[in-house]
Symmetry: C2
Subunit: 328 residues, 2 copies
Amino acid sequence: MASLNMLGEKEIIRIIQEELDIMPDLIMGLSDDVSAINMNGKVAILKTDMLVGKTDVPPGMSLRQAARKAVIMNISDFAAKGASPLVMLASLGLPKELKERDVREIAAGLNEGAREYGIYIIGGDTNESSDLIINCSLFGFCDRKHLISRRGARPGDILAVTGEFGKTSAGLRILLEGLSAPQEIKSALINAVLLPRARLNEGLALSRIGGVTSSIDSSDGLAWSLYELSDASNVGFIVDYVPLAEEAVKFAGIHNFDPIDLGLYGGEEYELVVTIKPQFWKAAKRAVSKAGGSLIKIGTAIKEKKVELRIGGEKRPIERRGWEHFSG
Amino acid sequence: MASLNMLGEKEIIRIIQEELDIMPDLIMGLSDDVSAINMNGKVAILKTDMLVGKTDVPPGMSLRQAARKAVIMNISDFAAKGASPLVMLASLGLPKELKERDVREIAAGLNEGAREYGIYIIGGDTNESSDLIINCSLFGFCDRKHLISRRGARPGDILAVTGEFGKTSAGLRILLEGLSAPQEIKSALINAVLLPRARLNEGLALSRIGGVTSSIDSSDGLAWSLYELSDASNVGFIVDYVPLAEEAVKFAGIHNFDPIDLGLYGGEEYELVVTIKPQFWKAAKRAVSKAGGSLIKIGTAIKEKKVELRIGGEKRPIERRGWEHFSG
């Protein structure tokens, strides 16, 4: 019988779903980024996400940064769904070698991440464990009409993202593989990994305009997110532009990487990837800009279920890969 | 600087609390068993609890039972506070050696525990980790006036519990230390550990009568729970009766244990420990009986902050001990 490192995360989730009774009248559940239940008109939104030290904390990331990241991971999923976070619970599994100051750093990082997005940590649990485990559970609200699933993309919709890609990909190569980078770009690349930001203002703004048909964050990489939207919405995508951070392009040049690959097959990035009805495009751009961000068109949803790159006359399939638990 | 195995769980929680901003108008937070926030008159209740394989799963407990127990741990805290659970999220940390059938067992155990108490698991997360980690986060509601904290006990209140003690203590000694027990009591003792039940009906019934002044479950043992209530309410307790399960008394006789010690210093038990205003005692007993349980008077709250046993003329202090993470 297959053990977990052969199954992959998606298959594990499928097995779990098979064993669970499905709640009647559930609005959103295990197959989307958050769970949503109806509460007298309003929708209550819940999300839990576990950070495991050995897989989610690259070398060079402090405990404070790891704890902050555990918060950001959850906030980002709320951002993608258009839900306002309110309060968070944090469960900790702490290796017994940790010191008092380590616990303080973890708590301070949790608080820092929460307060950046206006929420509070109001409860939790602590345990001894072999790995560092930081499990955050986020709770908040949404108007039913503002909640954006992964499923609504239709052929013809505009595919857009909230920022440039490639920095975390480069940063991870520096942190994990020890690749070099000149001083003037190194800290930008590393900080993209160590100090991620969730696009909460952008996500909330997008959810209010009414024409966003599907949304996800890019925490598993842009390519992976496109396949998730493609599967959930049963559409394909033509990508005709991959916005790349200047520092990532420089890094790619130095190491002879394809910069577009850096942008597509990253991870640990928290940009939003959304589809928008064309007639709402201007309103969406304006709303995100007003929220302090930018919305960049990268392609179009198509009927045929494929994910393809078309840049400068060149045409090639985008691969379904990105970072996944249990796969390595 | 102290490492965690010298600090103890209470001290770790204190350190964490120091680093967290406190949410204004929070109804219940890190110093109680659940978190509670005001939501237009109603109160939203949140709780997260992590089960770690190596500390929370005794030998002999199946994965299915461990997962079910992870649910019960959370339900029991809702029961103690008088809150109705509604939905649950489950985050899993799975060692990579696990097989597909193990994942199925875990999911089935989660579902079993949830459905026993009428709730559904609506979301979660899976990760690879060294230990087995099952983190459940429970969400539900309560009327503000029904929510029972740890803080309200006053001198003169009746101290009561919802069942007998000692079975889990004996069961853990069989499972962990290999002690023997005759066949006719062995399975009752072991099953008390492997298949715990939360006193949800009893807790909800008690919360509705209005005279319950404080409440906690006995998951860390009866003695420990008494000290928690004593600290939070700033009262002491005289315990004049420790209700013991027949099987526990037999087990104590065989191994020359003090049966009362078995009852006091256990853990993994999910009886409720409550204080009740004397004029509400009859109503409380009736309400719990109607809910299918029983309420047993074990003592009285007193002004002096001590926890003392007074049985048959004998007087001795109850020790502040019980099972605690990081302490061993």
